[in-house]
Symmetry: C2
Subunit: 468 residues, 2 copies
């Protein structure tokens, strides 16, 4: 059967669009840059959400919900913040049939409205740390939208915290990076990200330091997958939030904010997808295994249903495909496009010999397995596929990362992957030169590739690449 | 300790506001009618959401997500629908710094945008039924906002389905009422709702029939807690959605939509609250039991922590209160206001005798319990409290519901509760007379109090009351 997908080696962006449509992940909305997350895409999002939510709660933060609509004047209180977000705002000027006295913006992010409440809630050192997270939609008007990656409306979580000391705020920003985002990317999404901090040019509008997780996609480009910001006292000063210390003095709290979004769905496609469609890491597959009845045969359909039940009872997300009035080839291609990690094919001939066929999506290898061994073998395969997708992505990332000495070499290496060079040799001026070639510094790292925790430390490395 | 709450017998609306603030459930947002759901309130919402989501999935619907922003023209396609929602719309006129060519509205509900996609996705009878749900925020400009009950922005789920036959659509609308909403209200929220269908005057704008769950609040007023609509072919015709039947003819699908919202948090307060604050049904209590160390005593704090761990290990949502630098009385009042169903008080004197005190929130009864019996006794109490809150609400609802024969009697009975009278004697004209007295028909029922499933059936009963 001919693939409904463009070859990714020929036209990667178009292949991405094809996968979105063919795997029924998402659709474009009628308002420019908006998207519809279809059931298959949304079910992946629910699994990602579940893991991030669990990890955020384990890090001590509580969920809450703040209004979508923010008075325009709130945005203006933090100078860098409003400058960063003004060009992207959606503005409500009419409500209930009347023109509003003060226009309100649809939140592009919630630092301002949340800090206006922190100012009411924080009085004493006893109220700190205040650790809040919200799951929400945000709107940023996009000039060059792409589904999941850059959309006018997207879904995300945004954490907002206040701390008594600068050190405590930094520690928490880093804790979120290390205990929430990094393990979610690596263990759940099977995407081996690099971590570091942003240059002044790239950091969040209103932050003093932005920590980031950057993943390499199938075309060698970088995708920013989660960021955690130290906000210093910028917002607490702007909103007049003060607390009395144990010694009775009044101080402004130190803050953080951090977010990860539905963009992660784009990362899964772009990092793991192949010419046959999506390849889902089992940990985020709405169906980890699909049991397909090959054709209209009572025995096969019954056996397929029983296998699905056994697999579900063993704790796997298992689905039955008994749509025997649709061609077997068409259904197989469909499940491959959707990226289901393991397919079990149940046909009458094999069944007569007490066997079925297992197909793993990542390698497309087939194996004949006795009925009684299916559950154990599927369990083994799911673990193996999760690891294999990660290892393959890591190998690709390493193969496409080049240590270079000059801006010229970085430009060359950055065409197909990432370049790593000394930040001392690059600097903000070199960063501008890279920018002219559509390259950006994705993050800065310590000389050993770890996080650069010492303020003003020398010997930093810049990871340079094209980015989504 | 003096209560920070107004006496509900004196001023019920003001008591409600006091509970919202004192229990740290919610705050008013800066834009008129918007709200902040604080961690305690949001944690209750997460439990409500979890149950509704589980039940919706069990009814076969898939979650998805559609855009917040809808072209204004979409709303106009269904005449009754636009008439119903126009006065409440928030309109975005500017995006990305420019005036938009066509203004977009912030969704007040998603029938129109979802149906524009159903028109793309539905082609054949094989595509039906199409069963979609989304969790989302919606915006309806409110003139008389009240936190949780009627807010400019609220959180909800909205289901949207398409079916091959009118019968299948009706069955599904009723299935949602019976298998999702009714058990959630009764078993989870412990609120004994009555069910029925709305009069023409009260039904959803664009529906042919609206089924509803109505709860009675502590002041005898009704609260609409969940609705399930039969939409007929109104939207499929408006959006040109057609499917080919098995015999090859083209038909418009029959549709439903249904929703329940963050208003349910208001219902919990209004139905179960008392002069000491919130009383949470254990099934929706973020903390089902709090173990309080009475004062700064190492043994008591250690024993309290161990008890919390034992209670958590037994599967209860258990919290430790070891803030011994805050007065015991103040903390006790705080947990009562927040509605935690069971409080375990661990003090050094009792502890020396191997005992602790258990206080149940619903009756405020205290009992001394040996340490080794705490876990079992808490488990028993939680079950008992869940049932007791329901039974108490049901008794109140029955005591305040009066069978009457005339509109005049209904007006009198409707001042303190609900009146039930023959719909044949009331009719749309009588309904208008009730409206002049701030009374509405909450729902119509069959003569036996069940759902009136027969079209044009006589002998209907009207349940009349004031409403939130």
């Amino acid at each position: 059967m001919a693939s409904p997908l463009t070859d990714p080696a020929t036209d990667f962006p178009r292949w991405y669009q094809d996968v979105l449509v063919a795997a029924e992940l998402a659709d474009n909305g009628p308002v420019r840059g908006t998207m519809v997350m279809r059931p298959w895409g949304y079910a992946i999002w629910e699994l990602v959400q579940g893991e991030i939510d669990r990890r955020i709660k384990a890090a001590g933060a509580d969920n809450a919900y703040f209004p979508l609509l923010i008075p325009e004047s709130y945005l203006r209180r933090e100078a860098e913040h409003v400058e960063g977000f003004s060009p992207e705002l959606a503005v409500v000027t009419h409500g209930g049939g009347k023109e509003l006295e003060e226009p309100v913006v649809v939140r592009p992010t919630s630092e301002t409205i949340i800090n206006s409440f922190f100012a009411k809630w924080v009085h004493s050192y006893r109220d700190l740390p205040l650790l809040i997270n919200q799951w929400a939609n945000v709107v940023r008007w996009e000039l060059r939208p792409r589904v999941f990656l850059r959309t006018t409306e997207f879904l995300w979580q945004e954490g907002h915290t206040a701390h008594a000391t600068e050190r405590d705020a930094r520690d928490y920003a880093l804790r979120i990076l290390r205990e929430v985002y990094l393990p979610t990317m690596v263990d759940l999404l099977a995407i081996p990200v690099v971590t570091g901090h942003k240059t002044d040019r790239e950091r969040f509008a209103g932050a003093v330091r932005t920590w980031t997780c950057e993943g390499m996609m199938g075309d060698g480009k970088a995708l920013q997958m989660g960021t955690s910001h130290e906000l210093g006292q910028n917002f607490s000063r702007a909103f007049g939030t003060q607390f009395s210390t144990e010694t009775g003095t009044l101080e402004y709290p130190w803050q953080t904010s951090w977010g990860a979004s539905s963009r992660l769905l784009g990362a899964i496609i772009l990092c793991h997808g192949d010419a046959a469609g999506l390849r889902l890491p089992p940990a985020v597959a709405p169906a980890q295994v699909v049991v397909v009845a090959v054709r209209d045969d009572e025995g096969a359909v019954t056996a397929a249903r029983a296998l699905r039940d056994d697999l579900a009872a063993a704790g796997h997300r298992a689905r039955l495909d008994d749509r025997v009035d649709v061609g077997f080839g068409r259904r197989s291609v469909g499940w491959e496009i959707k990226g289901v990690p393991v397919r079990v094919e149940v046909g009458p001939r094999e069944l007569a010999e007490g066997q079925v066929t297992l197909v793993r999506r990542d390698t497309r290898e087939k194996a004949t397995v006795p009925l009684g061994g299916v559950v154990a073998e599927v369990g083994r395969l799911l673990g193996e596929i999760q690891q294999a997708l990660h290892d393959q992505a890591l190998a690709a990332q390493r193969a496409r990362t080049t240590r270079v000495a000059t801006v010229e070499e970085a430009v060359e290496a950055g065409g197909a992957g990432w370049a790593v060079l000394d930040w001392d040799r690059l600097g903000p001026e070199g960063e501008d030169r890279l920018g002219a070639q559509a390259l950006t510094v994705r993050c800065l790292q310590a000389p050993d590739g770890g996080l650069a925790l010492e303020e003003g430390a020398g010997g930093l490395l810049a990871v340079v690449g094209r980015a989504y």
